[in-house]
C-alpha cells in the first residue's frame, strides 16, 4: 500500500499532461493548467525541504566532529542569518533592505571571487595540460586558440578582422553539430527516464523501501 499508492499517483499525474497535449479540449486543459499551478506550489515546498536537509547534514557533521566540521558552522550561520532576515523581510518591509545589503556585500563578493579564481586555474591548467599530443588534440588546441582570439578585439587587430568570422563559423557550424547531438541525446535520456518513472520501472525516488 505504501508503495502502490505513490506509484499509481505518479502514473496518473505523469500521464495526464501527455494526454492533455494530444487532447486540447477545454475541460482537459483546465485540469492540466491546475496541475501546473500545483507544480509551482510543490516546487516552492522543495525549497524549505532543501534547507532542512542542509541543516540536518551539517548539524550531524558538527555534533560528530567529522572532517571539516568548522565549515559546517559557517554554512549554518549563513543559513540562519540570511534565512531569518529574508523571512522577516516578507513581513516587515525594512528587512528587505537588510537582506539586499547582506546579499550585495557578502554573498555577491564571495561568489564573484570564487568565479574569478577560475581564470588563474585555467591559465595554470592550460599551460600544464593543453598539449597537441596527437591530431585530435592538435585540432582541439587550434580551435580553442581561434575561439579565444575571436572573443577579443585583439584577435581581429592581429588578423585584420578575420578572427571573429572564423570563430563565429566554428561556433555556428562544428560546435552546433556537436551541441545538437548532446541536446538530442540528453532529451532522449530524459524522455526514457520519465517513461520509466511513470510506468513504475524506476522507483528510486520512493526511497530505500525500508519502513
Amino acid at each position: 500500500m505504501k508503495r502502490t499508492v505513490p506509484l499509481v499517483l505518479t502514473f496518473i499525474i505523469g500521464m495526464y499532461p501527455i494526454f492533455a497535449f494530444f487532447v486540447p479540449h477545454r475541460v482537459v486543459s483546465n485540469l492540466n493548467d491546475r496541475l501546473d499551478t500545483w507544480l509551482i506550489i510543490v516546487a516552492a515546498f522543495a525549497l524549505p525541504l532543501g534547507a532542512v536537509n542542509v541543516f540536518m547534514i551539517n548539524f550531524s557533521k558538527i555534533s560528530q566532529r567529522r572532517k571539516g566540521w568548522p565549515y559546517s558552522i559557517v554554512i549554518l550561520a549563513g543559513l540562519v542569518v540570511m534565512g531569518s532576515i529574508g523571512i522577516a523581510g516578507a513581513y516587515r518591509q525594512d528587512s528587505i533592505g537588510q537582506f539586499q545589503y547582506l546579499f550585495q556585500n557578502i554573498v555577491s563578493p564571495l561568489q564573484s571571487t570564487m568565479f574569478s579564481l577560475l581564470s588563474f586555474y585555467v591559465a595554470s591548467a592550460a599551460y600544464r595540460a593543453f598539449r597537441a599530443r596527437n591530431l585530435d588534440a592538435g585540432i582541439l588546441l587550434v580551435s580553442a586558440i581561434v575561439v579565444m582570439m575571436g572573443r577579443i578585439p585583439f584577435g581581429d587587430m592581429l588578423s585584420r578582422g578575420s578572427m571573429t568570422p572564423l570563430s563565429e563559423w566554428l561556433m555556428t557550424i562544428p560546435n552546433t553539430a556537436a551541441q545538437r547531438g548532446i541536446i538530442i541525446g540528453a532529451a532522449l535520456g530524459a524522455a526514457s527516464m520519465s517513461i520509466r518513472i511513470i510506468l513504475g520501472i524506476e522507483r528510486t525516488y520512493l526511497g530505500s523501501g525500508k519502513d
Partner: protein, 289 residues
Amino acid sequence: MNLKKMLFIDRRIIYLLVAAGALYPIIRPIGLPVKPTKPVAALYDAVEKMGPEDAVMVSFDYGPSSEPELNPMAEAILRHLFLRKIKVVVLALFPLGGNEEAKSELNKVVREYDLRYGVDYVNLGYKEGGQAVMKRMAISIADVFPVDVDGRPTANMPIMAQAKNYSDVSLLISLATGIIGEWWANLVNPQFGVPVSVGCTAVSAPKYYAYLRAGQMMSLLGGLKGASEYEKLLKDDYASVRQIYEKPEEKKASATTGMDVQSIVHVIIIAFIVFGNVIFFATRKEGSK
C-alpha cells in the same frame, strides 16, 4: 638550460602574470575597438523596431557568480528598452540571487529615466517552479505573480493589462546562467511562439548556438563580448547613453572596459599554451635523439 624544468614552472608565476594582466587595464583602460556580430545586432535591431505599444519580459536567471558578464548586459539592454519607451516586465527564475540581481540592476537603471512603476515597468520578483511557471504564464502572467516583488497586487497595474500573457509579449530576454535560458528557448518559444533572446556567460554560449541556428532563439549575447557589442551599438546611436558610459564609475563597470581585461588575460593564456607546446615538442625531440 633544462627545457623540461620549464614545463614545471611555479604556478605562482602564472598567477602573478594573470593578476598583472587583469589589473593593468582596470587602472589604465586601453579601449580596444569592439565590432558587433550578427547574433548581437539581431537583438539590437529588434528592440529598435519596437515602441511604447510593445511589452518585453526580462528574466533574471543568474546569480552573483555571473555578475561580471551579465550585469553590463542587463544594464545595456534595460537602457535600450527604456529609451525606446517599451513596457518592461522583469522577473527572476534563478533561485540563488536572481531576485537580488533583478532588483539592483533595475533600481540602478530606472533612476536614469523618467519612469512610472506599474505603468512603464514592473518587477514581479522571484517564483520557484521553473518550467511550470513558464507554462502557466502562457495563460496569465498576473495569476502566476499575483503580487510584485514588494508585495503589491499586480492585477490593477496598467502594465499588466498590456502584458496579460505571452500573446501580448513582443520579446522575451533571458539573462541566464545554467539551464533556465535553455528552457525559454526549448519550451516557451516552440510551444507559445514568443521570440526568445538569451544573454549568457561565455562558457555557456556554445550550447545556445544550436537553438539560435534552429530559430528557437532570435539572438544571442555571449558573455562579456556580447555585452560590449551591445554597449557599442547603443553608444553609437544614443548620445545620452554615451554620456552615461563616460562617467568614471560606469566606465569602470562597463563591458567595454571588461573586454580590455579579457583581451590581455586571453593573450596571456594563449601565450602560455603556445609556450608549453613549444617546450613539449622540443623536449620530445630531445628524448627521441
